[in-house]
Every structure is written in C-alpha cells, then in structure tokens.
C-alpha cells in the first residue's frame, strides 16, 4: 500500500511532492540518521535506557516549542516562554516550604495566566507585534521574579520532591514520568489543531487575518486565549525543567527560548503563520536534543558546540525550505 503510493508519487511528480505534503518524512529520516551517527560515535550507548534519557531531556523543549508552534500558526511568536517557565519553577520552589505544593503550583499557574493575559491583550486587542509584546512581558516577568527572589532570600528555597520525581525519574527505570505527562498533552494539542474549531481558527488567522475576520472569527478572543494557553504550557515546562535539573533559578529556561523557536521551524511550522503543526515540532525538539547530546558526546568544548549547533540549525532549515518549497 505505502510502496504503491510512493510509486504513484514518483510517477506524478517527484520526491519533492511527497516531502512537501508529508514533511514529517524527511524529519524522521534525519532523526534516524542522527541516532545512527550517535550509535557509530558511541557504540553500545544507544539502548532503551539512552532513549529514556533523551526523551526526558526533550520533553521540556518540546512543550516550549509547542508554545512557539501554536503562536507561530497565527503569525505570532512568544519570546516570553523562557521568563514565564523560569518564574513558574522558581515560584513553586520558593513557596513549597512555607505554603505547601498545592499553593505553590496554584500561585505559579496564576502568575503565568496573568502574564499570558497581558501578552494576549497586547497582541489581540491593541494589535502590538507579538515579538515586541512578548519581549516586553518577559522583561516584566523577569524583573518581578528577581524582586521576588530578593524578598524571599531569607526563606528556604528548594525544588519539591514531587517535581523532582516528575521531572527526572523514570517509570521502571525506563519511561520518564515527564513523558507520560507529555503524551496526553501532545495528543490534546494534535487533536485540537486538527479537529476543533479553535484549532482551525488558529490556522485561519495566520493564513489570512482579513479573510478570517470577514468570515466571523473573533480573532482577538482567539489570540487572548492562545497566549494564556502558551503561558500555561510554559509554566508546565518550567515545573518539569526545575524537576529535571533540581535547580530553581529565575533564568533557568532562558537558554531554551531560541532552541524552542528553532525546533518549531525545523518541524515545518512557518513563522509567517498558517502552515505547520505540532507533530513536526516534537520531532524537531527530539532532533535538537540529540544533536546537542551528540556534540557533548564528541567531547567538543562549549564554544565549538555552540558554533556547530547554530550552523546545523541553519543547514537543516535551509535544506528543509529547499525541499518543501516550490521554486
């Protein structure tokens, strides 16, 4: 069946069409290639245990890249995810000793909602460019988190054991708990994008905002809700990340902001909106995680790793654009 359709593709056009319509195919090929390279470089390391470690590391990045995917579908971007995620992780860690885990989580989610609401109101109602709006919000969030940190300097701060388990432990030493949490979230996002009216409106607004408005979509409502969802997902990534690293810092997730955008772009979501999806983004996040692990395994110093990481992102994005775009 599959080989038959491939032959048909070849007959009608070329590989290019297959790649354009199923962008996940070349991505998976790249992923397999990377795993093979890793297997050659470090023989014997690639096994189920290794896969679990990779998944665990990829989950927070995949969630943050999900924020970028959803906002990029509408032609936006969310640069505040790093600040919101770090703030959420830190807020929980600073409140858990005195108030308990429930209060900490609730406070963090509430703060994230407020940040997302602010971004959403700016983007949706005041029509501020999402890049600049989310940047401004990230300044506010980081500044307030810093001020909070100074206020809390006397009290004890520690990542709660529950989050540590969730972020870094694995069920039967194999499947990470964070991945078990991620699967329903990913299913929800995939389903919402494909099957619900809200998901279609995200595509519609990004593809042609005027047409979306004329056909009755209240784009401001869609956008306000979207940026709140994005902030809540960022907070979730922050919980997992603080659990994974056992660190609570107000700049914890900052270094993941640029990779999250890169993962969404490599995954085939257009930064101009209207095209893409979460499936490719997940593979993109996994690819970036493995590249990063591969560069570490090869023993390169930090400087060389950064250079190669950037160069690979450009190369993959360029190859991808070349393959999937019609000339």
């Amino acid at each position: 069946m599959i080989s038959g359709s491939v032959a048909q593709w070849r007959a009608t056009g070329s590989w290019r069409r297959l790649m354009r319509d199923r962008p996940i195919v070349p991505l998976f090929a790249l992923l397999v290639l990377l795993i093979v390279v890793y297997w050659i470089v470090r023989p014997g390391v690639v096994n189920a245990d290794w896969a679990g470690v990779m998944l665990r590391a990829a989950v927070p990045l995949a969630i943050l890249a999900g924020c970028q995917t959803l906002t990029m579908l509408t032609g936006g971007i969310d640069l505040s995810v790093g600040a919101v995620a770090s703030m959420a992780g830190f807020l929980v860690a600073s409140l858990v000793a005195s108030q308990g885990l429930g209060v900490g989580l609730a406070a963090a989610l509430l703060a994230a909602t407020a940040a997302g609401l602010l971004t959403g109101i700016g983007v949706g109602i005041f029509r501020v460019h999402p890049l600049i709006m989310s940047l401004g919000v990230s300044f506010v969030v980081l500044g307030l988190a810093n001020a909070w940190q100074i206020m809390m300097v006397q009290s004890s701060t520690g990542v709660p054991a529950e989050l540590r388990t969730l972020g870094s432990d694995r069920l039967g030493q194999l499947v990470p708990y964070s991945f078990i949490l991620f699967v329903p979230l990913a299913a929800l996002i995939l389903l919402a994008l494909r099957r619900t009216g809200y998901g279609r409106m995200l595509f519609a607004i990004g593809d042609n905002p005027i047409a979306a408005r004329l056909s009755g979509a209240r784009s401001w409502q869609v956008l306000v809700v979207l940026y709140v969802i994005s902030a809540l997902m960022a907070a979730m990534a922050g919980f997992l990340l603080s659990g994974l690293t056992n660190v609570a810092s107000v700049t914890l997730a900052d270094s993941l902001v640029l990779p999250s955008v890169a993962a969404a772009v490599i995954g085939g979501t257009s930064i101009f909106g209207g095209r893409g999806g979460f499936g490719g983004t997940m593979v993109g996040a996994l690819i970036l995680t493995i590249i990063s692990a591969l560069l570490t395994a090869l023993g390169y110093p930090e400087a060389v790793r950064q250079v190669l990481f950037g160069a690979i992102i450009v190369a993959v994005a360029a190859a991808y654009t070349r393959v999937t775009q019609e000339s």
């Binding site: 971007i77 640069l79 602010l118 700016g122 005041f126 029509r127 501020v128 460019h129 890049l131 600049i132 709006m133 940047l135 401004g136 919000v137 990230s138 300044f139 506010v140 969030v141 980081l142 500044g143 307030l144 810093n146 001020a147 100074i150 640029l258 955008v261 890169a262 772009v265 930064i271 101009f272 110093p301 930090e302 400087a303 060389v304 790793r305 950064q306 250079v307 190669l308 990481f309 950037g310 160069a311 992102i313 450009v314 994005a317 360029a318 654009t321 070349r322 775009q325």
Partner: protein, 334 residues
C-alpha cells in the same frame, strides 16, 4: 522615500503647511525629545549633584547600546530583523581586544580597521545566508547568534585582552567643555558620516523600498537580494562599531554577549521604526536608548530595587507600543 515625498509636499503647499508636515513626520522623535528633556530635568530635581560627571557616564553607558540600536534599525527598515547583533558585538569586541593586547598604538589603528572589516564580513554572511537559503530572517540570525557567540568564546575564553590608549581616550572624558562627553560626539559623528549619506543614496532608498513592499520594489527594478545583503552588511558594520565601543569603554573584551540584542529590538520599536519595515530612522532609536538608560539611573538615585528598572523598561515598552498602535488605529479609522 520620505525625502522624495517631502519635496512634493513642499512644491504644492505653503511654508505653514510645510512646517505642519514636518511636525507630523517627526512627531514621534519630537515626543521622545520632550520626554528626554523632562527626564533630565527630573533627574536634576531628585539629585542636585547631577552634572557633567553624570552626563559623562550616561554617554559612555549609552554608546554601545545606541550603536546596536542603529545596527538593528538599518535591517529592520529593510524589512528584516537581526537577532545576532549581541553575539556579533561580543565577537568583534574580543577580536579587537585580543589582537590589541600588548601591541603598539600605531598597530591598533590597523586592528580597528580590521575589526570594522570583520563586522562587514559577519553582516554580509548573515545577509547572504538569508537571501540564498530563503529561510526567514529571524531564524537565520537566531542560529547565527549561536555561531558568532561560540566563535567569540573560541577567540577568548574569559574577559581579557587590551585596548590602545588612543581608543580608550576616544570615548572617555569630555571634549573641550565639561558638558560635552566624547562618547556622544563619537556617536553623532559615526551616525552622520555613515548613516546620513547612506539614507540619501540610491541604496538607502532601495532599503526603504524593499522594507515597505518587496514585490513593488522588485517590480520597479530594485535588486531585492543585493539590497538585503547590503543592509545586513551595514548592520554588521554598526555591530562592530558597538563591539569596539565596548572594548574602548572597558579596556578588555568580554566573550559573553550582553543583553544588547533584545534591548536593540526594544529601542528600535520605541524609536518609531515599524517592525514591518520601511518606516522610521535611526534618531528615534538612539533617543529611546538614552531614555531607557536615564530611567535606570533615576531609579538608582531613588534607591529603588534595580530589578524594578527592568520591570519599568518592560512596562514602558508595552505602554509606548500600545499607545503607538492606538494612534495608528485611530488614524486608519479617520
């Protein structure tokens, strides 16, 4: 674009209308200037000792960020955005500092020129990659930020190196009267010598054209790709100037990029340059940088938590941009 438009207006209308047109066109910059004057007066009010020394340190703190804002403004006007400015600054700064250390004053002249050429090269690579790969600007420059930042770490692993005495004295201290900081003069001279001729040239016009409507520019015979590459090349040049000013200010090179990339985007938007491209200039962003810096200084004088300065910068950014889009919205309704 603006230059042509104003000549036409002037030909058709009287001097009063010309003044009105000029006011409307420069309204944003005049507003920023008024805000800056008010802030300076307020600074003087809360701190009687604020005088020449304060202005000196303000100018020195502003110089790198202002040059970064000019760099960002150029590629934003051409319809792009460069998220690698901070990394390019770090790379050019360590390049200059590592090569100047222990060398003669005369040799440093060659190093400064080489650094500027290096900046041109970095910008040209950014622009060429964007044009050739057809990957969105934001993605390419984001990835190149890693490449340039990593390269900076390859040149120097820790903040060190040196700077020639003449380079340091070029930006430190007053020029003649104590109220005129050298750093401010350097900024004005650099902008006047590079940006003004560029803006009035065919290339400058082409940059505004591709920023405002790429297809229309292409159909009127502008080579879009070449113009874009050149715009990024000038961005690289100004990033190198900003990197050099960092080395001159501190006397060393720091391989870790400062917060300059995102601050430059903020300053460009506050300065009235549309992120959609084709609008604005470099005066507004420079004024915005001075205002942001002065607010930080005022908050220190009021002995407020320095983190609140970051919050206030974010609030100002959001507030001003919302205000700007409200004005635009009302105009489009009229």
């Amino acid at each position: 674009m603006t230059a042509t438009a104003s000549t036409f207006d002037g030909a058709r209308t009287g001097p009063g209308d010309m003044l009105l047109t000029w006011l409307r066109r420069n309204g944003w910059n005049l507003g920023l200037l008024a805000l800056l004057a008010a802030l300076l007066a307020y600074t003087r009010l809360i701190n009687d000792n604020y005088g020449p020394t304060g202005i000196q340190s303000l100018a020195n703190a502003v110089l790198p960020l202002a040059l970064a804002a000019v760099a960002q403004a150029i590629c934003v006007i051409a319809g792009g955005i460069d998220l690698s400015i901070g990394s390019m600054m770090a790379l050019t700064s360590v390049f200059a500092a590592a090569n100047m250390k222990g060398q003669s004053e005369e040799f440093a002249i060659a190093i400064v020129l080489a650094t500027l050429a290096f900046g041109l090269l970095l910008g040209a690579i950014n622009g060429t990659l964007i044009v050739v790969t057809r990957v969105p600007d934001i993605v390419v420059t984001l990835a190149m930020a890693f490449v340039w930042g990593g390269s900076a770490l390859l040149v120097l692993r820790t903040p060190e190196g040196g700077a020639a005495q003449w380079l340091k004295s070029l930006v430190l201290g007053p020029l003649g009267i104590e109220w005129v900081p050298k750093a401010a003069v350097v900024l004005l001279v650099v902008v006047a010598v590079i940006w003004l001729p560029l803006k009035r040239s065919r290339l400058g016009l082409a940059m505004y054209a591709i920023g405002s409507n790429e297809l229309a520019a292409f159909r009127s015979g502008i080579s879009v790709g070449r113009t874009k590459i050149l715009a990024y090349t000038f961005t690289g040049l100004f990033a190198a100037l900003a990197g050099l000013s960092l080395t001159a200010n501190t006397g060393i090179g720091n391989p870790v990029p400062g917060p300059y990339t995102l601050m430059s985007v903020a300053a460009v938007v506050l300065g009235g340059v549309s992120l959609a491209g084709g609008r604005g200039g470099v005066i507004g962003p420079v004024l915005a940088v001075v205002i942001l810096q002065l607010i930080q200084i005022d908050m220190a004088f009021l002995s407020l938590d320095p983190n609140l300065a970051l919050v206030s910068q974010g609030v100002i950014l959001i507030g001003v941009v919302m205000f700007g889009s409200l004005i635009q919205w009302r105009r489009s309704r009229r």
